[in-house]
């Protein structure tokens, strides 16, 4: 059962009607509804196509946050073999909002790290809705450091509303942990590839995504602040998130134009949550292709290229 977003309401009605017809036919085998149901299916498909062909920035935020969107765990399960999770920051705790470990992709040994939001109430609470505490960033730093020592490429999957705003998180140095994680990303002498698979929430995302290549799933978003947060500060009204989402230019297309995103990974019709397998396969292909672009470069070159990329950011804006 699909969970519909508010703007998908007309779609829900059509798909609901088709489903009702078919359910009736199952109970009354003498009824022939297939023609009518098929017409509804076509109508739904057309509507889906038009809705998703032109998503506003705010709708993209909603799609990026869709609870059924594939999460880090789904990508790791499907794309990587021999995944061996590694835990803990060796200091305080193991933060389950960040998962990571050794694995192979297409036979290549790598380190994979990502934010995991969880997929039901229990796991969402366990994973803290993908909002990392300092321990999460410090675990990531440790894993990146390990990969660097053994020459393994690092792949990060970004999907977080942002770093966790908590008392303990502040006391244990949330900002320092994020700063050090970003610093580690920029120090690595191995390829670092990031894919924003859902939400790229501010500093919490930067800490993983200061990479040689940053790819974004078509409907994912990456922003300095949530549209709601921006609206409440600049519009003094959190309900103005549609306007702020538009103004923030947080879509994959905008980020590609601004030079922050290197590659947009197309999503299946109706978003990754409608066809997770296709979305996951596309992400896998993009990761392998980016790995191949970087694999033969020396460590010094990888680090220098990464730095130059970020130093040059901001030399161009959006076209007038």
């Amino acid at each position: 059962m699909t969970q519909y977003l508010d703007f998908e309401k007309p779609l829900a009605e059509i798909e609901g009607k088709a489903e009702e017809l078919r359910a009736m036919a199952r109970e009354n085998p003498e009824m022939d509804v297939e023609k009518e149901a098929a017409a509804l299916d076509r109508k739904a498909a057309d509507l889906l196509k038009s809705l998703y062909g032109d998503l506003t920035a705010w709708r993209k935020c909603q799609v990026a946050r869709h609870p059924e969107r594939p999460h880090c765990q789904d990508y790791i399960n499907a794309l990587f073999t021999e995944y061996t999770p590694l835990a803990g920051d060796r200091n305080f705790a193991d933060d389950l909002s960040v998962m990571g470990g050794l694995a192979r992709i297409e036979g290549i040994p790598v380190m994979v790290i990502g934010h995991e939001k969880g997929n039901d109430t229990k796991s969402r609470i366990e994973r803290n809705f993908g909002m990392a505490r300092p321990e999460g960033y410090r675990k990531a730093i440790r894993l990146m450091e390990l990969a660097n020592r053994f020459g393994l490429p690092v792949i990060t999957l970004v999907d977080t509303p942002g770093a966790y705003p908590g008392k303990g998180a502040e006391e244990r140095g949330q900002s320092e942990a994020i700063a050090r994680s970003t610093e580690k990303c920029l120090e690595l002498k191995v390829p670092l590839i990031s894919v924003v698979i859902g939400e790229g929430g501010s500093g919490g995302a930067v800490a993983f995504a200061s990479a040689n290549r940053v790819a974004m799933l078509e409907h994912s978003v990456y922003s300095v602040i949530s549209p709601e947060g921006c609206a409440s500060i600049l519009w003094k009204d959190a309900e103005k998130m549609r306007e702020s989402a538009e103004a923030l230019r947080l879509t994959s297309k905008d980020l590609h134009e601004l030079g922050v995103c290197d590659r947009i990974i197309p999503e299946p019709e109706g978003g990754a949550h409608r066809d997770p397998d296709t979305a996951i396969t596309s992400v896998g292909e993009a990761i392998v292709s980016m790995l191949n672009e970087l694999r033969d470069l020396s460590g010094d070159k990888l680090r220098a290229d990464r730095r130059n990329k970020y130093l040059a950011l901001g030399s161009k804006g959006l076209a007038a």
Partner: protein, 313 residues
Amino acid sequence: MNWITNYVRPTINSLFSRREVPDNLWTKCDDCGTMLFHRELADNLNVCTNCDHHMAIGARDRLKSIFDGGVFVEVAVPEPVADPLHFRDQKRYTDRIKEARKKTGEKDAMLVAEGEMGRTPVVVAVQDFSFMGGSMSMYVGNAIVAAAERAIALKRPLILFSAAGGARMQEGILGLMQMPRTTIAVQMLKEAGLPYIVVLTHPTTGGVTASYAMLGDVQIAEPNALIGFAGARVIEQTIGEKLPEGFQRAEYLLDHGMLDRVTMRTALKDELVTIVRLLMKQDAPVKGDLPAPEITSEATLQLEDPIVPDDAK
């Protein structure tokens, strides 16, 4: 990545630009309410002489308080693309910038200068909270990169005074990208073997603390400065409880191991001189108020017509 190519001949600043302070005016301390003589307060670097409360100090006044005789040379900062996102909320970003420039007389939220501090050559960057909340813009990123490049070219330490609410929302993702960008500037300094000292001033939060402001070799904060990642209100809403007294204040961070020192503004210059000279293996410092340097250093040699303030002659 050579920002030096954008280097423009520096301009001189001096105490001449200090606004004339009328002797007959008083300021009320924000904290204890004591009425303080303007002149007395300015001489004490805007620290209340009664209760030691640290009031805001302007970015230029900060530079004057750090450099010998108040003399420094400004380091030019390359101009970024203006209004890269064509951002508009209730106001246009371009209008907000215009207003901030008019109000502060500054280009953006960061000043960079070079000069001598206790006869120790340094580069100093000061974030200007009065300019759009000190927010981290592409200009601020350019300023920090320029400061690091200049420090490396002159083989000097970089001292940075932070004050900001975070990244500038009106520059969207490009504001956010100043986090990795400024982190690279810090890495370049470290690789050049030069000290990078951060002085966190009230308030420093958000993406600024989560990048260059927390990456100093030595981390100092002014007393009672608010320092944190998330805002206290957001935290209270998230965890559903009241935060303890002094939460996210300098002394609280010191207690939690997040800072090296909390130092009074009036003692900062001497302390910075000591730390920098120890790290640079230089002789023990000359302390106290020093006149402007002789016109022999590399920085001042570039000046055609150096201006020395009256009280340094």
